[in-house]
């Protein structure tokens, strides 16, 4: 199948992609899903279901609160207010349906967003382009620093009263 057909199929499912500069970034794979991908794990499917992987010690329920707690626990993320790109900061966006049940997680990559779409492709896209019938809308953001060592050094300097 050609890329044109893939794109037509994608755009039929996610009309928000039409007219944007999204890019298909992988072949179709079904051995990992969006949550695993957002957590940097492409070896298994993550979901709070008894037959799928979910980190131990994290709430095993399909709620936005449980997803936030899980990414805080395994990735050191904390809630943040929006998806604006900030250098040195890595963000996640959680999508949920009208009932507030999580449907998708996207990971920020530069100024764009990187998503694994169910059993299909990974794509690079604009955040709002996946909102709609399939995934609902973005309901929350998480962020973490990508410069932990430097921050630690800064904290140490502050404690010692050294120059900032």
């Amino acid at each position: 199948m050609g890329e044109q057909e893939d794109r037509a199929h994608l755009e039929a499912a996610f009309p928000g992609l039409v007219g944007t500069t999204y890019r298909i970034a992988s072949p179709c794979r079904c051995d990992y899903n969006c949550v695993a991908f957002a957590a940097g794990d492409t070896s298994r499917r993550w979901w709070p279901h008894p037959s799928r992987y979910w980190p131990s010690g994290c709430p095993r329920e399909p709620t936005v609160g449980a997803f936030i707690a899980t990414f805080q626990h395994v990735g050191g993320y904390g809630p943040c207010t929006d998806g604006t790109f900030l250098p040195g900061c890595e963000k996640l966006a959680i999508y949920a349906d009208a009932a507030g049940v999580p449907t998708h997680v996207a990971r920020q990559k530069g100024a764009r967003w990187h998503s694994k779409l169910g059993d299909a492709w990974d794509i690079l896209h604009d955040l709002g382009a996946l909102e709609g019938e399939q995934y609902g809308r973005v309901v929350g953001f998480l962020a973490r620093s990508t410069r932990p060592a430097r921050n630690k050094a800064k904290r140490r300097r502050r404690v010692r009263g050294g120059p900032r």
Partner: protein, 181 residues
């Protein structure tokens, strides 16, 4: 046999596997004789079961494994050796319906709550040979197998890992049917 292993949605469409959106898979029109025959079979089964076995619960036992019959919520390790062609056709349509609607979902909650998935589980033991056939194709077929059989052959360390999950279910099937499993 339908090649469910093809991932590409457009390829499914080319093959005519993607059916039009609807709430239920398309029903095959039934002839009058077929309906009369089905009623007669059900009547005979009811009479024989009440005659041979104590209590009406025998009916539930007979219906388990019949498409549209009782859901198998109890553990049942055997695998029917000769699945019926009618079940295969129904199963194929349900898999197509599920794949069309759930391709984009990562949510196991949504994927296993889909009506086509629930219908497959409600087929009971009759669906097990077909589920083993499509195990390598995209889908949560291991969860359907677990729900139907009550078995849990996947070791905790392999939870969520597709290849190891498939291997565990293949081994489970082989132990029950060394020739075909």
């Amino acid at each position: 046999m339908t090649d469910f292993a093809r991932y590409s949605p457009a390829a499914w469409q080319q093959d005519g596997l993607v059916v039009q959106p609807e709430q239920d898979p398309p029903a095959r029109p039934r002839g009058r004789g077929e309906i009369v025959g089905a009623v007669a079979v059900v009547a005979v089964v009811a009479v024989v079961s009440f005659a041979l076995m104590p209590g009406g619960v025998a009916i539930a036992g007979l219906l388990r494994g019949v498409p549209g019959g009782c859901s198998a919520s109890v553990r049942d390790d055997s695998i029917p050796s000769q699945p019926s062609p009618v079940s295969r056709e129904v199963f194929g349509r349900l898999v197509e319906w599920w794949a069309r609607d759930c391709l984009w979902f990562s949510s196991t909650t949504k994927r296993t709550a889909h009506p086509a998935f629930r219908r497959i589980v409600s087929m009971g033991r009759a669906a097990v040979p077909f589920l083993l056939e499509v195990l390598e194709t995209p889908g949560d077929w291991d969860i359907a197998l677990a729900e139907i059989t009550g078995a849990d052959p996947v070791p905790p360390s392999a939870t969520g890992r597709r290849a190891e999950t498939i291997r565990a279910w293949r081994e489970w099937a082989r132990q029950r049917d060394p020739v075909d499993g």
